[in-house]
């Protein structure tokens, strides 16, 4: 109750509300553009947050995530092209409704469900984050080290088809984290005499490079063009009877979205497809699914918006980003010298309550901004791709320069972009690299501090109960994922025709 009151109090800050509105607007427009994922939309904003106070900066980024999840459904419904991965399930019935001349109703159901999903997700975020963080208050250096390892173990479920590539990407991230000043002795490592490298490489450069810059390179390398929106629909919200009909699929979406959001690595795409499937299973109108069923939009859209909020639970409580978007949000926290995790609620409670308040403002703003921005989104989707890419490139270059007024940072950005492009071509996942980068310092500094404390006795990691529990959980994650893959490798029939699905 106290948390809710403090969160509502923070709404007295006009900058928070403005940040929420701007974030939602930016997110909707970014999410509506096919190929621009929520994480890229957030990454483009990241450099701008340097000059802002912590709470509005975090609200801006988190609201962008909320807006992008709805924005992705606009092209999904209008041109059968999901703006985000999580909107892919919305294509199935959303586009069918559009073909039947019900695009306005489909967009209305998507927006209405998105707002409900966001509000439900926010409630769960408030209820779950603080108690979980409270558990972590008694952490010692070995426990922090184990927490870092647990965070890295998420890679086991994030690595796509090749877990070894996930671990390799994570190791690459850990290596980048070692550049700069040693956390224990203060000596220089891998700086090669460059003063620019003394403070290390800021995660924001790598994140923007891997996500936004590499996307530019991939788009430049691919074919241009794409379908254009020719209709001019107006959003029509469901009436009372329709709202009643949508209640069950929305409840299914909210439940699944909350669960998947709290699980690092699951994400909005899994949640929206699972919700679609379960909504169809439990619907009396299941024969209409795939033919323009409103429930087929309501369930996935509620789910992916609930995920946008509950994905913050592992980030705020343990400092573990479970998705690309929350990794960017973690970057936003780090920019302001705030470390999400057990001490966040103690040291930066104002930022957390500001975030809750801002997310509430964002959920409400989604309703109005979503309606107002539909024509803008359609206009943006129809812009020539060369100019869209050119402006994103200019924005990225200008934004990164503005962080330290340094051309060296632009070199790092370009290198990270090229590395990201190669990783895509060679099918290496990004998120493990980002996890390695942001958790590298935590892992190394606490590993070495623990050994200094214990007089080089490695058993400290197993005698500390929290550390042991976290390491055991990490082992379960890794062994479970490895076991499944070993089983698939030896027992599943070889798939000889996988070469075609290249990047």
């Amino acid at each position: 109750m106290e948390t809710i009151l403090l969160s509502l109090q923070s709404l007295g800050d006009v900058t928070l509300i403005l940040a929420a509105i701007v974030g939602v607007a930016w997110g909707i427009v970014g999410g509506a553009m096919p190929g621009i994922s929520p994480s890229i939309t957030m990454a483009l904003l990241l450099p701008f947050t340097y000059t802002m106070s912590p709470a509005p900066a975090i609200v801006l980024l988190a609201s962008t995530y909320v807006g992008a999840e709805y924005g992705g459904s606009i092209p999904a419904i209008l041109i059968r092209t999901p703006g985000t991965n999580a909107a892919a399930a919305t294509v199935i019935d959303g586009y069918e409704m559009n073909r039947q001349g019900k695009a306005g109703e489909a967009l209305g159901i998507s927006l209405y469900s998105g707002v409900l999903g966001s509000l439900f997700g926010l409630t769960m975020l408030i209820l779950l984050s603080k108690p979980l963080a409270g558990v972590a208050l008694s952490f010692t250096p070995p426990a922090y080290f184990a927490l870092g390892i647990l965070g890295l173990s998420v890679i086991a479920t994030l690595s796509g088809e090749n877990i070894l590539k996930g671990f390799a990407a994570a190791t690459l991230g850990l290596m980048i984290a070692t550049i700069g000043t040693d956390p224990v002795t203060g000596g220089n490592r891998f700086t090669f005499g460059s003063s620019d490298l003394l403070t290390g490489i800021a995660p924001v450069m790598i994140m923007v490079g891997l996500f936004a810059m590499s996307e530019l390179l991939v788009q430049a390398a691919g074919k241009s063009g794409g379908e254009k929106v020719t209709s001019r629909p107006r959003i029509a919200f469901p009436n009372f009877a329709m709202a009643r009909r949508l209640a069950v699929p929305q409840a299914i979406g909210a439940g699944i979205g909350t669960f998947e959001g709290c699980m690092p690595g699951a994400g909005g795409t899994v949640a929206s497809f699972m919700s679609y499937n379960e909504a169809r299973r439990w619907s009396p109108n299941r024969s209409q699914f795939g033919k323009g069923a409103p429930e087929g939009i309501a369930a996935p859209e509620t789910a992916n918006n609930a995920v946008a909020e509950t994905a913050l639970v592992p980030l705020l409580s343990f400092g573990i980003p479970g998705s690309n978007s929350t990794a960017i949000l973690l970057g936003g926290f780090l920019i302001h010298g705030i470390a999400p995790g057990p001490m966040l609620f103690q040291r930066s409670g104002d930022v957390v309550y500001g975030l809750y308040g801002g997310l509430l403002a964002a959920a409400i703003a989604l309703l109005f901004v979503g309606m107002a921005l539909l024509p803008v989104c359609i206009w943006m989707v129809n812009r020539p791709k060369p100019w869209l890419s050119a402006f994103i490139f200019a924005l990225v270059m200008s934004g990164i320069y503005s962080i330290h007024n340094s051309l060296f940072d632009l070199s790092v950005l370009l290198i990270a972009g090229v590395v990201g492009f190669l990783m895509r071509i060679l099918k290496f996942p990004f998120l493990p690299a980002v996890l390695g980068l942001v958790l590298g310092y935590l892992v190394e500094s606490n590993f070495r501090r623990s050994l200094v404390l214990s007089g080089d006795d490695y058993s400290i990691f197993f005698t500390d109960k929290i550390s042991f529990a976290l390491l055991a959980l990490a082992a379960v994650f890794i062994i479970g994922a490895l076991g499944k893959r070993v089983f698939d490798f030896f027992l599943a029939p070889p798939n000889a025709d996988k070469a075609g699905d290249v990047a």
Partner: protein, 161 residues
């Protein structure tokens, strides 16, 4: 025959691990270091990356041997990728040129050139309208970053100080 993406990725990963390990073992040891020392984890990371890279490459090799049509798979994997690399390299080149000239020409003219070059490179029409969009876009970005956010962007030789 076995140069699949996985194999190339694995071999490249092992190479990066080896280079990193080489530099990790070059670090000076100090009497003040803790037992693990500044080079302790970097050396481990280098070795782990090498091992992972080799494992990825070996598994890729075994996979291609298991597939009878390894030759056709290879053909599918790399066909048409050269032009994609070249097109992506063009964007990187535009970025590098911007980096080299922005200190001399200043932010606004530099970003206008970057906008125009990127758009034209990706197929925008070569006409006065494109130049106008680039100049207008640069002016808008200059307003956002310099006037609104107060960022000290490169002024160039024409407008120093």
């Amino acid at each position: 025959m076995f140069w699949t993406r996985d194999f190339v990725g694995g071999a490249g990963t092992a190479l990066v691990g080896a280079i990193y390990y080489y530099y990790a073992i070059q670090m000076r040891v100090s009497a003040l270091d803790d037992t693990v020392g500044p080079s302790g984890l970097p050396k481990a990371y280098g070795l782990i990356l090498m091992a992972l890279g080799l494992a990825i490459a070996v598994i890729a090799l075994l996979r291609s041997l298991r597939q009878r049509s390894a030759g056709s798979a290879l053909e599918n994997e790399w066909t048409g990728q050269g032009i994609r690399f070249a097109r992506a390299a063009g964007i990187v080149a535009i970025g590098v040129i911007y980096l080299l000239i922005v200190s001399y020409v200043g932010y606004a003219p530099g970003i206008a050139l970057l906008l125009l070059a990127t758009a034209l490179y990706q197929g925008a029409a070569r006409n006065w309208r494109s130049i106008a969009v680039a100049v207008g876009g640069a002016a808008a970005l200059w307003c956002i970053f310099v006037l609104v956010l107060g960022v000290s962007m490169p002024r160039g030789l024409l407008f120093p100080g």
